[in-house]
Amino acid sequence: MKEIIKKLSDSRVFVCTIIWMMILVFTGTLAQRDMGLYYAQQKYFSNWIAWFGVIPLPGGRITMMIMFINMAAFLFKPTLWHMKKIGILIVHFGALLLLIGGGITALFSFEGNMVLAEGSRANFISNTKRSEFAIINTTHKDYNDIITIPDEILFDGNIISPEGIPFSIEVIQYYSNVSPSSRKQSDQNDAYRGLAKNIVLLPLDNEKEAEMNRSGVLFRISGTESESDGVYSLFLGQSIPQTLTIGSESFTLSLRRERYYLPFFIELLDFKRVLHPGTNIPKSFSSEVNLITEEIPRRLIIQMNEPLRHRGYTFFQSSFSQSSNTEISILAVVKNYGRLFPYISSLIMSLGLLIHLLIQLPKLFKSKRAKLT
């Protein structure tokens, strides 16, 4: 047992992992220039394996896992439990907490945004990096039945036939980024239905900023036993939705940002942007909102450095867009269970380092007068 702990807690293991981590961080940061922050992060840091060309090497997660085990084993070393080393002990304990918090955040946190025009309300968050295929049954006047298919399942050739839907969907091709343009006459085909008749989706490379991607899908509907069978296409941000009428039922199909519903509404009353007088440098952004729970509104202001925290969700003023007649405020929304870890661990680590410094520094700066000759 002692041998195992000694091996696991060897400081050389730490040195190796931290050197590897530095290499990862350095390459990952440089890579951001070409591939954008999000994809570089996915490739190098938020990944178990980082591929350098064809060579698989440990990614950020494995590296930090090893670091964690190394540090955890270190705490079991009996030689550490001395008053003289109390500072070191505390620092390592804090660092462990920081890594635990990082792990929880990496695995369980949720990020998205909420786009609100003045006067409108919403009860869902959109994931700006993911899309979903929504089938909305609009037959009933009082309510809609919604079935969503996440983009992970929209791989080419997959046939999806959700329960309660009188047709099946065969994904012909899913694109993570497209540019819709008008279809040429020569390219026409009888199988095309709806938008696909006039529009062709041209695939593009992913944008550097993942949220700038416009995803698109080309798919075949079959099983309706009617004229509606055929090839359709959808893309993100399409202005006219695709509708289908099958027998007495009517459906709306759309490709939209993956949604996550909240147990409350947020209504934007007013968005304000203040500039430093006489310049174009923004001084502050703020959104005046109503937080509506069970139809009872409560007025709030969300602004830079002053987010709204409610039921585990945090709403931040993130961005805005202004058109001639309306202002749109974009709130970033985060749910993070590991939120408090950095706060606590940083306190602990700083305390530990401070204690260690106070013990060590007098020794290291002992005044020894040696004259320069």
Binding site: D10, S11, R12, F14, V15, I18, I19, M21, M22, V25, G28, T29, Q32, R33, L37, A40, Q41, F45, L98, G101, G102, T105, S109, E111, V274, L275, H276, P277, G278, T279, I281, P282, K283, S284, M304, N305, P307, T314, F316, A332, R339, P342, S345, S346, M349, S350, L353, L354, L357, Q360, L361, K363, L364, F365, K366, S367, K368, A370, K371, L372
Partner: protein
């Protein structure tokens, strides 16, 4: 302690200033999002066209240049103030390339005539497609337009609403006097009266009109302008405090150099005093800026340089206080001077007292995160400096083991402190990010840079702990650490991505590259030399045996 010093400084200078009369230099102007004295406005205008804060050819301070231009535009239009450094640009303007390569408004105006198509073509191009000449031509046109429209930017009439967030009126906007309130009109007329008297060289008249101006500001606009602060800023502009602190650092170095030659102790003490005096002036400069802008010491790249410089010299003064052998002075004087020099280079880029974008406009986080991380940079660079000294000493005096061990211990101590500030600052930054953007860590280049510094320190400390690295190796590690700091500090801006990208400059890339080459060369060169000498010595020993 800092607070006491701060108030003391402000009180002293405030006392001196209150005795001084309100002058034309203190006339409040709204520019770049804040109210500043006319003196600052003039300096920034001249800086952007001419590249300097006073007109060297005529020995004219910026403020006099601006007012002369207002009084007598015809003379001003023939002053040579456009600084064109590229003969090709001069040729394309059909001008003659001469030795001082400065040209007047009239000359540039004639040169630009008939070139609309070329300029339009340049304007259409994306920035990265421009050749050097085209880029410079574009800059020149921008400067020219700025100069030609200067009176639009000279906003000296406070708004009728008396709300400090409302835009002021420029000289050209008040032409239609009917729309002005009574107070605005009187203020405007007083200003024109001043210009009138000035053109007639009527000393008494100008003095009177300025007294009148001051009276009206006090009477009607005391809640939008703070005259004391304006006077203070004008004074700060003229004081050139950082030039003063630099001269004391250089003086300290000279004293130290002489102390190596002759009577050491008294000269070393003088040198230490000079360094401390420079440091006090340095602190004063930082405090003055804080007072003028009402914000924490570090919020722009320029300020981070000045602040790192302060931290470095502070460490050095303390080190000298402990060691008393001149090493601290040596480090402090050199690093202080170098950083001052870099700072001056940066201040040429424009207004060093600019406003901040929304997310930075938070005094609490600027005060905590930015200040701590900058202290971390400063301390890391100090550790790097000590690393240089260790390696150099190990070559120059390899047998002075006690002294070498001393330096090694000091280096390690500073490294621990640097780690503390860098780590704490990085985590504080994460907490700020959590507060404003909702995530603690986003792998943004600047965040990664700060983390690299922390990791490098951690690596070195653990390498030393596990015995893999001895004193020379540790010193080498600290030398290389300077590269990491430089990359995190300046290099990140070259990537031009992420939330922290500000202050891009192509000149940085070259300087950064040179710095890295030098550090690599010095670090590894000295390190292997030491290794080589050691091996040789042991070999000789074995041969003797």
């Amino acid at each position: 302690m800092k607070k006491i010093l701060f108030t003391l400084l402000i009180c002293c200078t405030g006392f001196v200033l209150s005795a001084q009369d309100f002058s034309y230099k203190d006339i409040p102007v709204q520019d770049g999002g804040r109210i500043k004295p006319l003196d600052t406005f003039a300096r920034n205008q001249l800086l952007s066209v001419y590249g300097k804060r006073s007109l060297k050819s005529e020995n004219l301070p910026a403020i006099e240049w601006l007012l002369d231009l207002l009084v007598d535009p015809n003379t001003g239009f023939n002053q040579k103030i456009f600084n064109i450094r590229n003969p090709e640009v001069v040729q394309s303007l059909r001008l003659k390339w001469d030795n001082d390569h400065t040209y007047s408004y009239q000359e540039v105006l004639q040169g630009l005539e008939g070139q609309e198509e070329l300029l339009h073509q340049i304007e259409e191009k994306a920035d990265e497609d421009l050749t050097i000449v085209e880029g410079q031509l574009q800059d020149l046109v921008l400067n020219f337009q700025k100069f030609a429209n200067m009176w639009w930017y000279l906003k000296i009439i406070p708004p009728a609403s008396l709300n400090s967030n409302d835009p002021w009126l420029s000289l050209l906007e008040v032409n239609n006097e009917q729309s002005l309130t009574e107070n605005q009109r009187t203020l405007f007329l007083t200003f024109t009266e001043y210009l009138n008297k000035r053109s007639k060289n009527d000393a008494l008249g100008t003095e009177n009109s300025m007294a009148n101006y001051n009276y009206q500001l006090n009477q009607n606009y005391s809640n939008v302008v703070d005259i004391k602060r304006l006077k203070f800023e004008t004074w700060y502009n003229q004081a050139n405090i950082f030039y003063l602190s630099l001269s004391f650092y250089i003086l300290a170095f000279l004293f130290l150099a002489f102390s190596w030659i002759t009577t050491p102790e008294i000269l070393r003490k003088l040198s230490h005093g000079s360094l401390t005096l420079g440091l006090l002036l340095h602190v004063a400069g930082l405090c003055f800026r804080m007072y003028i802008m009402e914000r924490p010491p570090v919020s722009t790249l320029y300020e981070s340089i000045i602040f790192v410089s302060f931290i470095a010299v502070l460490c050095a003064v303390i080190l000298e206080f402990i060691r008393k052998d001149g090493l601290g002075i040596f480090i402090g004087a050199i690093s202080g001077s170098i950083f001052h020099y870099i700072g001056f280079r940066y201040s040429i880029d424009g207004d060093t007292l600019g406003m901040l974008v929304a997310v930075l406009d938070s005094n609490f986080w600027l005060a905590t995160h930015v200040t701590t991380i900058t202290i971390g940079y400063g301390a890391s660079l100090m550790a790097g400096f000590m690393g240089h000294i260790y390696l150099a000493m190990a070559i120059l005096q390899p047998n002075n083991t006690k002294r070498l061990k001393d330096i090694y211990n000091n280096t390690f101590g500073i490294t621990l402190m640097a780690l503390f500030f860098a780590l704490f600052g990085t985590i504080l930054g994460g907490i700020w990010a959590d507060q404003s953007w909702g995530r603690f860590w986003g792998w943004d280049p600047k965040e990664n840079g700060a983390m690299l510094i922390c990791m490098w320190h951690l690596m070195m400390i653990h390498l030393r702990l596990s015995g893999l690295v001895k004193a020379p190796g540790f010193a080498l590690g600290m030398v290389l650490n300077s590269i990491i700091v430089a990359l995190a500090w300046f290099g990140v801006n070259l990537l031009n991505i992420g939330l922290h990208s500000y202050g891009f400059d192509s000149g940085i890339a070259i300087n950064l590259g040179l710095f890295i080459l030098f550090e690599l060369g010095f670090g590894f060169g000295t390190y292997f030399w030491i290794k080589f000498m050691k091996n040789k010595n042991t070999n000789e020993l074995t041969q003797i045996q």
